[in-house]
């Protein structure tokens, strides 16, 4: 808990993230090479889906990350609403475009996988529709952030919308069990273990870790940017206030957490 409290301090976060970023990005790059080597040169074609199974190595991690970043935003929303933690709002805002991008990748690759396998790019079934709804929720959240100028007010409104939208996450996960769908059921995270052959499973897991580390690196950069944006806003407001006071100098402005 002490570590989390220390990490949640913006100044400490800036210092720690600065040191971690090159390592996370570098490790992600190495794992991408290993994962894609496994996906294209080691893993066999599927006995039913043939070579189109290669799409799985980007489609599945994208789907996981789209749901992961929304869950992260939900936890941050609770942190922002309950504990009023400034870094929770920052983490929440920085996560939205990243989660939206992975939802978009999931939908695009799913459509390109669906055409040769199902004979159609799109069908309004539960899994595909709920993933589209997730993308729309992400876009609504990003729009709401831009609609309200004051970051704390925007954070509160976005947190409530995020919490309401979280209902869609279990719907995505269990849609293949609750309704008849063209989409295959869960084949990795199952009670009885994965149904994928190990020769296909290991490249999938390596690609998933590579994508995850890359997304975390982007999230850290986006969080650092948001901290700077808030410091710029504070400095600008203080400078404007000071300019209105006679005889005051802008050099008296408070210093914030950014580097």
């Amino acid at each position: 808990m002490t570590f989390i409290n220390q990490l949640a301090n913006p100044t400490r976060f800036m210092a720690l993230s600065s040191g971690l970023l090159p390592w996370i990005a570098g490790l992600s790059g190495i794992l991408f090479i290993v994962g894609f080597y496994g996906a294209f040169f080691s893993a066999p074609a599927d006995y039913q889906q043939g070579e189109t199974i290669r799409i799985m190595y980007i489609h599945v991690p994208a789907a996981w990350l789209a749901m992961f970043f929304y869950s992260l935003m939900t936890i941050s929303a609770i942190g922002a609403l309950v504990w009023r933690h400034p870094l929770a709002e920052v983490a929440q805002k920085a996560a939205a475009p990243i989660g939206a991008s992975f939802a978009l990748i999931c939908l695009l690759t799913g459509a390109l996988w669906g055409r040769p396998m199902w004979g159609t790019y799109w069908v309004w079934d539960a899994r595909l529709t709920s993933m589209l709804v997730l993308l729309l929720i992400y876009l609504a959240i990003m729009a709401l952030w831009r609609t309200i100028d004051e970051p704390t007010q925007a954070g509160r409104a976005v947190s409530i919308l995020t919490l309401v939208g979280f209902i869609n996450i279990p719907i995505i996960k269990f849609s293949v069990d609750w309704w008849n769908t063209l989409h295959q059921p869960a084949s990795v995270f199952r009670m009885n273990g994965p149904t994928i052959h190990p020769s296909m499973l290991w490249p999938l897991l390596v690609c998933a870790v590579a994508f995850s580390l890359f997304a975390v690196a982007l999230h850290l950069v986006a969080m650092r940017t948001e901290i700077m944006r808030r410091r710029i806003r504070t400095l600008t407001i203080l400078a404007a206030d000071r300019a209105e006071q006679p005889g005051a100098t802008p050099g008296m402005m408070a210093r914030g957490p950014a580097e």
Binding site: E51, T109, V221, M228, T236, G251, M253
Partner: protein
Amino acid sequence: MTALGPHAFFIIGSYLATFAVIAALTIWIIADNRARKRELARLDHRQHGADRP
């Protein structure tokens, strides 16, 4: 390199679409970061400039 068969268009298209989205996101995030860094440096510089007698 494994032969991608008759569905190569869909496989390559998937990877290209993924690359395009990831590249756009990365460029946007890094460009935004650099712009805010420059803006902050300019504000700090102005503040320090005003501090000097």
